[in-house]
């Protein structure tokens, strides 16, 4: 990806005549960017509305929210107080309206555990999680793109068949097992790496590998399949006939095409990485958003749960939209309007 982004300025001016295959329905990049943005924002609003409604009604269907809010120690007096404080004595429709109104304003209430502002707590943790996700995402791409290209270039050779089998097996190993095995080897047996918390770059290695391991095998397999397919295309044969060497064919022509085909996958990666980061953060006691979410779920600290889920949704959508737009600039094929 780092390679192809360099060509963004070169590709952008070509946009108006992007589709040179005689199709008149090519629309300008800016317009399409706006369309993508609108679509994603609509989806995000729908999602946030859905999640908050789901939480609101689940919480009220499955029991007394006041009891949940009060925790295990709440007595009758406390329950009354909480009902007043949160407006739980009002009719359901009114509650729902108030709930949505506050949500729009970004007011999630205070954490039940320590009375801090829920959104503030979440925002505090966001950078730590963000670091982990970015490192893992980069590591993932740095490892899986060359590996996938290598595997896909000559898939019939014995060494690559063995490597492909290893990747297949790796795909069957869930990230939390990778994490535990890494701890067992590098922290318990060899004592090389710290296994707990965020204590500088050395402590980033194991969480990042664990998180990358959630999805790297899948990316490798998709890219190798795409490269293998691209290597059979006519334009590769033409390039070869023009005297291009194997490495040029693979890295400049086939891989570029294969990468662009993997757009959807890269976007979906972010969602998987965020899901995986929750478990990774718990395993390595990483002080991030995921661990906050798990602890608040365990202690039924709903204001924090809600704020965390909202921020995760916004983060994922931001990342997906960015990928969409970047690829829109890189890949001329995406610019044509699909009817």
């Amino acid at each position: 990806m780092t390679d192809t982004t360099d060509q963004q300025p070169a590709a952008a001016p070509a946009a108006p005549k992007g589709g040179t295959r005689g199709d008149a329905e090519t629309i300008p990049v800016t317009q399409q960017t706006m369309q993508t943005l609108t679509k994603r924002v609509l989806e995000l609003i729908f999602l946030l509305f859905f999640i908050s409604t789901l939480l609101f009604f689940l919480l009220r269907l499955t029991g007394d929210p006041a009891a949940v809010l009060a925790g295990e120690t709440g007595d009758q007096e406390q329950l009354e107080l909480i009902r007043k404080q949160y407006g739980l004595d009002k009719p359901l429709v009114v509650q729902y309206g108030v709930f949505l109104y506050k949500m729009v304003q970004g007011d999630f209430g205070n954490s039940l555990a320590n009375a801090q502002d829920a959104l503030g707590l979440v925002m505090e943790r966001l950078p730590t999680s963000f670091t982990l996700v970015i490192i893992a995402f980069t590591a993932n791409l740095i490892i899986s793109i060359p590996l996938g290209a290598w595997l896909g270039s000559r898939p019939d050779r014995t060494g690559r068949k063995l490597a492909a089998t290893a990747v297949f097996i790796a795909q069957g190993i869930p990230g939390y097992i990778t994490g535990l095995i890494l701890i067992q080897i590098f922290a318990v047996e060899l004592r090389w790496l710290p296994s707990i918390g965020n204590q500088g770059p050395l402590s980033w290695i194991m969480p990042a590998i664990t998180l990358a391991a959630f999805q790297a095998p899948q990316v490798v397999r998709v890219i190798s399949a795409n490269v293998a397919e691209a290597m059979r295309e006519d334009y590769i044969r033409t390039a070869r006939a023009n005297g291009a060497g194997f490495n040029t064919l693979l890295w400049r022509h086939a891989l570029k095409n294969a990468m662009l085909g993997a757009t959807a996958l890269i976007g979906a990666q972010v969602s998987f990485l965020v899901g995986g980061s929750i478990i990774t953060e718990v395993i390595f006691a990483w002080p991030g958003l995921g661990r906050l979410l798990v602890t608040s779920v365990q202690t039924l600290d709903f204001p924090v749960v809600q704020a965390a889920v909202f921020m995760i949704a916004i983060f994922v959508y931001f990342a997906i939209t960015m990928t969409d737009i970047v690829f829109l600039f890189i890949d001329p094929r995406l610019r044509r309007q699909r009817a």
């Binding site: 898939p155 899901g275 395993i283 979410l293 779920v297």
Partner: protein, 296 residues
């Protein structure tokens, strides 16, 4: 990708040939059969007392024989419970929960996908918008939140996962069904005035079968991983249930003294996931082969 080298069998001899025509599918089915036999066998051979612990043999390594003569082939856990029996006892939990969930996923995903493909206008817009929105959300996050409210246990967990994870299936089904709906035989059925549900069920659904099988196999694996992850986080199966995720979660505190506590359930999960991935790959390969055979 490892491609099976088995030659495509001639149709007439298919029943005489052992195997399905796909090496991956064969391997996957064999592995999965072992798992299922273990599942069935435990009702015949596993006595409830086998799951009880014996505090005199806590945290014993593999191949340990206790004072009372019981042999622990893969060791014991922190309460002296035999890990092998516990893995067997965890089968109905881990595979059962993800099995129920995958059925929900296939049914709901197919249904919503078909609805989106058949209707146009506002219904399709809502379906597509909803699916696109839900698909972006990591479903571990959604599952965590819902499980927190509905509680833990077999049915809450499996239904929650089933009702959350269907979006990816419905997106694929939607795309395929729209392709099938443009075929001549569907047009003919429409012209004959066949009811829309009949068209969807008797004309579209059979064409989707290979896709559904492939997706179901992969989702079985994904849901198994998610179930173990939730149990691992302490939000899945009930605490004392021998689910594989619970066993992994227990093992975290004893990584230094008793690493086998981690490796035994990890092996079980990885074997199950790999066998399901093999089955999914095998189905995909078979349907590709068939498509190619039709073209030729």
């Amino acid at each position: 990708m490892t491609t099976a080298t088995a030659p495509a069998p001639a149709p007439a001899f298919r029943f005489k040939k052992l195997g399905t025509g796909s090496v991956q599918l064969d391997l996957g089915l064999i592995l999965f059969a072992i798992v299922v036999i273990a599942l069935l066998g435990q009702w015949a051979f596993l006595a409830p007392s086998d799951l009880d612990g014996n505090l005199t043999s806590r945290l014993k390594p593999p191949f340990f024989t206790g004072r009372d003569g019981t042999f622990h082939i893969v060791g014991t856990d922190q309460l002296g419970r035999d890990l092998f029996f516990r893995v067997l006892g965890g089968l109905p939990w881990s595979l059962g929960i993800s099995g129920v969930a995958v059925i929900c996923v296939a049914v709901i995903g197919t249904f919503i996908g078909l609805i989106g493909a058949w209707y146009t206008g506002i219904v399709r817009t809502i379906v597509l918008l909803g699916v696109a929105a839900m698909i972006a959300m990591p479903f571990l996050v959604l599952a965590l939140v819902v499980v927190a409210v509905v509680g833990r246990g077999f049915w809450p967990l499996s239904l929650t996962m089933g009702f959350i994870a269907w979006t990816a299936v419905s997106r694929v089904i939607y795309a395929e069904a729209r392709g099938l709906l443009t075929r001549e035989y569907v047009l003919a059925a429409r012209l004959f005035g066949v009811n829309k549900w009949s068209i969807l069920i008797f004309h579209i659904l059979p064409g989707l079968r290979p896709t559904i099988l492939v997706m179901a196999a992969f989702f079985f694996a994904v849901l198994l991983i998610i179930e173990s992850a939730l149990s691992f986080l302490g939000l899945g199966a009930p605490l004392n249930a021998p689910s594989w995720g619970n066993m992994l979660s227990d093992s975290r505190q004893y990584l230094v003294n008793a690493p086998w506590m981690m490796f035994v359930p990890a092996t079980a999960i990885v074997t199950a996931v790999i066998s399901l991935n093999l089955i999914g790959d095998g189905f995909a390969e078979l349907s590709r082969k068939r498509a190619r055979a039709v073209e030729v």
